[in-house]
């Protein structure tokens, strides 16, 4: 054991002989740190399961998620219907399986929108400073002065209910923290010696920003995005619950809880299982974010 440890230390301690080598060594070290934490592994496993379930939904589900079967309405969990059926006789297990696609769709789209936008605003604001910074930061201040759900509610009110509108609303409320973070990172880098060196070699401003500042901000932005995913899932579920997100018959977990609410006292399964699904997925993203922060943030060492 100690011999292998020694070997790995001497191996990593040796100076990397190429850029590729350095990247690989770095990735290996990060991966090792992630694997060492059981909570993070739990998060990774659940997220991977979610993705697999979403891909293989047609094979995993036993029934069509939107086809009604009124003769089998409101049946308790059994061998035929693992999680019972809802008020239209639809199989809740199958609906939860298909609902994973809706959840991933929301998380993916929102992240793809807010990551680049937040990064761009933050880096530009932090690099140029002055009036640009002031304007951008006042704008983020306004957005941050609301709890995200309330602001999302206001936007959905303006756009009208629906899944795509909910996604836009959530994206509009979720970018400011990313921008703030990227700005803070950029400001610590702006006057660093290596940036001055790059400037002296005659690099243009866009090149400095894209090649030398953005990559340095990426790891903390990714950590923040992962944490955000849990929040996105909860906000989307909350909007669905209030009837402003995905509209029936889309099997969205929050909307399923909302429609099960009327029959909650007789049919607990209509509410209990979708809620557990939301909780597990959101917890998994939180654990993943926690683990990534510990592994990627060099200040934790």
């Amino acid at each position: 054991m100690s011999e292998t440890t020694m070997a790995s230390i001497t191996k990593t301690a040796a100076a990397p002989n190429s850029r590729y080598h350095a990247t690989m060594e770095n990735a290996k070290r990060t991966a090792r740190r992630i694997l060492a934490n059981p909570l993070t592994m739990g998060g990774i496993i659940v997220v991977c399961c979610l993705i697999l379930i979403a891909i293989f939904a047609p094979w995993l589900s036993h029934y069509e998620p939107t086809v009604q079967d009124l003769t089998n309405a409101m049946k308790a969990p059994s061998g035929d219907h693992w999680f019972g059926t809802d008020e239209y006789g639809r199989d809740i297990y199958s609906r939860i399986i298909w609902g994973s696609r809706v959840t991933l769709y929301v998380v993916f789209l929102v992240t793809v929108i807010i990551g680049p936008v937040g990064l761009a605003v933050g880096v530009i604001s932090g690099y140029f400073g002055g009036i640009v910074d002031t304007i951008f930061m006042r704008i983020t201040d306004i957005f941050i002065s609301f709890p995200s759900l309330v602001l999302a509610l206001a936007f959905v009110a303006a756009l009208g209910p629906g899944l795509d509108h909910a996604i836009i609303a959530i994206a509009l409320t979720a970018w400011p923290p990313i921008a703030r973070l990227a700005r803070a990172e950029t400001m610590t880098l702006r006057n660093a010696d290596y940036i001055t060196a790059v400037k002296l070699t005659g690099a243009s401003t866009p090149r400095i920003i894209i090649r030398h500042i953005v990559p340095m901000c990426l790891s903390s932005v990714i950590i923040r995005l992962t944490f955000n995913m849990a929040g996105i899932i909860l906000t989307a579920a909350g909007l669905g619950f209030l009837g402003l997100g995905a509209q029936p018959p889309i099997p969205e977990w929050g909307a399923m809880i909302s429609s099960g609410r009327r029959y909650m006292l007789e049919c607990w399964w209509m509410v209990a299982f979708p809620g557990m699904a939301i909780m597990m997925v959101s917890l998994a993203f939180n654990l993943l974010g926690d683990g990534l922060r510990d592994a990627l943030d060099p200040r934790g060492e």
Binding site: F146, L149, A158, L265, V271, P274, M279
Partner: protein, 344 residues
């Protein structure tokens, strides 16, 4: 004395800058609500006159609402109204929105205050405990608990609570603020039902109100507990790694005295600001929890107005939430400045 004067000038300038920032943020806030209000797909005229009104009536109301004016004039009127604390009238009831919000807000304050007491009372000891057990079982359990608290959809948690503690066990009251037959029995003076019923000496009502309050407050409190315990833990860890802690241990103080007497004493200020922020975040949970528990507060008012497409009421609510949030942030900032000698 001599060098106290430039210091004060500095302070004044800092306060001035801060005030300017707040003013700009507030202006941005109401510009945002104004813009959201204008693009709303619901026709405000139609919701007043009804679908059967003829063109003349429609145009009359259209003019009454000032919708024929250019947009910048509408904006000035909007800002001017807000400066006079006029949030417009709710389309459904015809009452001023400001009055309606003032009527429903106490119910939310009552719920939120109870919740924050629960959240702080449990969150701080848990966080301190986790920090003292760093890397051991207790730490893991508290961390997972707090992460779970973050991850649970609060409306689902509320429904499960109702199902278990109300429907199955019968330990607590169900939806609403009191049992139906007590409703309206107590004259609302402060709007805080517990206080009102206690002042009127109606102890039956008080008990009923308490049994209705306890469950939603606990569930809302769980959420802030997760946040508070997490922050407490990280603040404590920062303190525990400092040298004065080692000195205190070497001196022979019990670990309890070190934890609470030394480390905790130094994070009180940070915790105060965290609790103030948690109180603000609770408004978000309140929107969902009040819907689940049919709690006649601010959150329910907001969602009801939203579902009815009552634009004035919704934007009024959003504006109020934003202002409460900014105020709480300010208070947190001010507390920090007042209590932490290092910031002076």
């Amino acid at each position: 004395m001599v060098n106290a004067i430039p210091l004060r000038m500095d302070n004044l300038a800092a306060v001035g800058r801060k005030l300017a920032t707040i003013a700009i943020t507030l202006l941005g806030l109401l510009t945002l609500t104004f813009l959201i209000g204008r693009v709303m797909p619901v026709d405000p005229v139609l919701s007043i006159v009804g679908p059967d009104a003829d063109h003349e009536t429609y145009m009359q109301v259209y003019k009454q609402l000032g919708l024929d004016l250019p947009i910048w004039k509408q904006y000035i009127i909007y800002v001017n109204d807000l400066l006079h604390l006029d949030l417009g009238r709710a389309a459904m009831t015809g009452q001023p929105v400001a009055e309606e919000i003032a009527r429903v807000l106490p119910a939310t304050v009552e719920l939120g205050t109870f919740a924050i007491i629960i959240g702080t009372g449990c969150g701080i000891p848990l966080g301190v405990y986790a920090a003292s057990q760093r890397g051991r079982m207790g730490d893991y359990i508290v961390r997972v608990m707090s992460l779970t608290g973050y991850s649970v959809p609060i409306f689902w948690f509320g429904m499960m609570g109702l199902l278990i503690f109300y429907a199955w066990l019968g330990w607590v009251g169900g939806a609403g603020r009191v049992d139906l037959y007590f409703d309206g029995l107590v004259e609302p003076k402060t709007g805080l039902l517990l206080l009102d019923s206690a002042m009127a000496g109606e102890w039956e009502v008080f008990r009923s109100a308490l049994s209705h309050l306890i469950l939603p407050a606990c569930i809302l409190g769980m959420h802030s507990m997760a946040y508070i315990s997490r922050m407490t833990r990280s603040f404590m860890l920062a303190q525990l790694s400092q040298e004065y802690i080692i000195t205190a241990r070497v001196k022979g103080l019990s670990s309890r005295a070190v934890l609470w007497g030394h480390a905790f004493m130094n994070i009180r200020v940070q915790l105060l600001t965290i609790v103030a922020l948690a109180y603000g975040t609770m408004l978000e949970g309140a929107v969902l929890i009040e819907t689940v528990f049919a709690w006649p507060g601010f959150g329910q008012y907001l969602t009801h107005s939203l579902l009815r497409g009552d634009m004035n009421a919704v934007m009024g609510c959003v504006l109020i939430v934003g202002m409460i949030f900014i105020t709480l942030n300010l208070i947190a900032d001010a507390l920090y400045k007042v209590f932490d000698p290092r910031t002076r």
